[in-house]
Symmetry: C2
Subunit: 106 residues, 2 copies
């Protein structure tokens, strides 16, 4: 491993220690942000793989491009199942929800 990689890893470690160690509420916020980002990215992928623009997908589900853009924004937290299903229906996808256990400790 070269020096650059080493430095980067250390930086991540330092940041982690400084902001997250022993502060579960920060970790929780991070996880939620990641989850939102995840949904946003899934919508983006579904749309682009279908070869559609935001305006086109918007039209398909009866709304506008700005709405799609908002849904694909990584820091948008307001996703509803209804909206996910509308998008899924337009792109022939079923929306599956699963609760999966989180293992305690680490």
């Amino acid at each position: 491993m070269n020096k650059t990689t080493k430095v980067t890893v250390d930086a991540v470690e330092i940041i982690h220690r400084r902001y997250f160690k022993g502060r579960p509420e920060r970790l929780k916020a991070l996880e939620e942000a990641r989850a939102d980002d995840d949904v946003a990215r899934k919508i983006f992928e579904l749309r682009t793989k279908a070869g559609l623009t935001q305006a086109q997908l918007g039209k398909l589900i009866g709304t506008t491009a700005s709405v799609i853009s908002r849904l694909e924004s990584a820091d948008y937290e307001g996703h509803s199942l209804a909206m996910l299903r509308r998008i899924g229906a337009a792109l022939n996808q079923r929306v599956e929800i699963k609760f999966v256990p989180i293992r305690r400790s680490a």
Copy 2:
């Protein structure tokens, strides 16, 4: 197979032919209703398996029993990802969203 079973099967067949055959918009409504029912049941199972009453789960996520009851109602369509995550967080579950392709025709 006994007579009762036979009759029931026939009835289902008749109903299906009468209301759904060749009417995709009805099938669609049915699928959506099923999906909502599914989420409602998942919440119910998660809660009961954790041995909690609606009031207890409500308290855990900072709301009341009536709200939980509404979420567990089969014909409620207003689920948000935010609420599902709150419930998941209280019960140590991560909420996973997946778009899965629907195969055409049948």
